[in-house]
Symmetry: C2
Subunit: 308 residues, 2 copies
């Protein structure tokens, strides 16, 4: 593919940022790459791995002259970092990010970005439970969705910038969709944030039991618990930020989940076999719908792309 | 391996029962196999698949002359079925099962089994979300735990029967441990029953949302939700029975889980970033412990054995 951008600056070189650098370079999507990370150790590692043409010492240095600036730092720092670099962004540059909560970041971008910059919040729905520049790989985004949440603007230059950013993600193998930021946050609260919260919680509950040892929990975890431990091994700082930034949607969905769980608990207590079987039959049908829609083979596969 | 039993009767030929028939035959653990299932269609299928030497038309016919009787029907029917076959069990026969709740079944076995029968409740911690005789495969139990919950008896013939049943499961590749039935139920409530309950619940909650369509939930499920849909696709009848039979332990663990979840919800509402990060860091360490203990590769693997 021919280059879409002259110079891409990636701020934050963890799992996602380093995967963008690898994937974009593999696909030839830009002429040059600049990387920045707040951690000196990470910057050194990015240099060693040869992930970028230049590793900048500051975020403002990194974005100078870049026509695409992609922020891939922990979600809570995305807004503040946008504010910090705002005055250094090139005319006509596109400012985007990869955070899992979009409404708060969309607001921060609109507040920070000068008029001559196209701000387009984004979110690749992809990841593993690994972190850091070594964990990234170039096929992380392949056949995964990337959601862009453009501003409500219909001027041609902005639409062209959205089109180009969309081509950038497609070039890395992603399926791109656009979505309202608030709706994004609700959808992700269900499909990602609540599952992570639940997984963190159940692993914590298990670890606190007096009557069952941790070694027993580990040994017999094949019965279902093991999937939760993997989800609950995801990056702690990132997830802390996600829950705080997407607080409203997460609490809304969590409230419904808790209500439903109380009803289920009551059905168990009162031996309401029919109610239990009806729910379990319905949820099985949902899974079969996912499999039938061709989104997953009936054999275990598990959504996340694997590091080759 | 030389034969351990002359005649093994398997009652119930779903995922587990049919896998036992396949695995035991592959390993040459018995001289003859009799199968029975309450469903005529399943019996016909077992005949077509050639899973047993004889397919009996009644449970009492099946157990006649068998020195091992293994009940693999839905958990709630195990106790009643034991009562039905009790008078037809051969002298010196071993009576076992594969149900995921053990205390209730242990009590039913002790009440039903005549003195000349060795009753040894059992539970292979293995499975997939598939059901039925076609879903079984001979490597299902390989490197998975099978838990036996023997009675509190120390007479030599009983201990020998436990030893032999243990060798039967080892012969199918399982790692065998013995455990008190009540403790089994608590351990499994944490490692298996609660995870399944939570998965069923979250998939149900998601399906009920008005603002997010089912197709959106499916499309973006790679963010964590997908693992839950797989768990929530497990056999509805079996799981209905598990929750009802292991009610006390499940409600106890569910109560703790709910308390912890409320604390977590409160931490999100009040923006207690440190609390969130501390929990998430701790749960990640637990996962690393599982990986370090060599029970799982750091790459996704997911506990359950796969059908080849």
């Amino acid at each position: 593919m021919s280059s879409l951008y002259a110079k891409v600056a990636v701020l934050g070189c963890g799992l996602i940022g380093s995967s963008v650098l690898r994937a974009a370079k593999d696909a030839g999507l830009a002429e040059a790459y600049v990387a920045y990370d707040a951690s000196e150790a990470v910057r050194a590692r990015v240099r060693d791995l040869g992930l970028a043409d230049t590793v900048a010492e500051t975020a403002t240095d990194a974005v100078a002259g870049a026509d695409l600036v992609l922020i891939a730092t922990p979600p809570a720092s995305i807004g503040p970092l946008a504010g910090k670099i705002a005055d250094h962004l090139a005319v006509g540059a596109t400012l985007t990010d990869v955070g899992s909560a979009k409404q708060v970041i969309a607001e921060a971008f609109e507040a920070a970005a000068p008029a001559h910059v196209f701000s387009i919040p984004g979110h690749p729905v992809a990841g593993t439970e690994q972190s850091g520049p070594d964990a990234g790989f170039s096929t992380l985004f392949r056949d995964r969705f990337t959601l862009l949440c453009p501003q409500e603007r219909s001027d041609a230059p902005y639409l062209a910038a959205v089109e180009k950013l969309s081509a950038f993600w497609s070039g890395m193998g992603a399926k791109v969709e656009t979505m309202d930021a608030r709706h994004h946050d609700l959808v992700l609260a269900v499909t990602s944030h609540l599952p992570h919260l639940i997984a963190y919680n159940i692993v914590g509950t298990a670890a606190d039991l007096e009557q069952v040892t941790e070694s027993e929990v580990m040994k017999f975890s094949a019965g279902g618990f093991r999937d939760f431990t993997r989800i609950a091994a995801s990056d702690p700082v990132m997830w802390r930020d996600v829950f705080l930034l997407n607080k409203d949607a997460v609490l809304e969905i969590l409230g419904r989940f808790t209500e439903d769980l109380q009803a289920l608990s009551r059905a168990i207590r009162w031996g309401e076999a029919d109610k239990l079987e009806a729910l379990f039959t319905r949820t099985r049908a949902i899974r079969l719908g996912i499999v039938a829609a061709g989104q997953e083979s009936p054999e275990p596969n598990f959504g996340r792309n694997r590091k080759p």
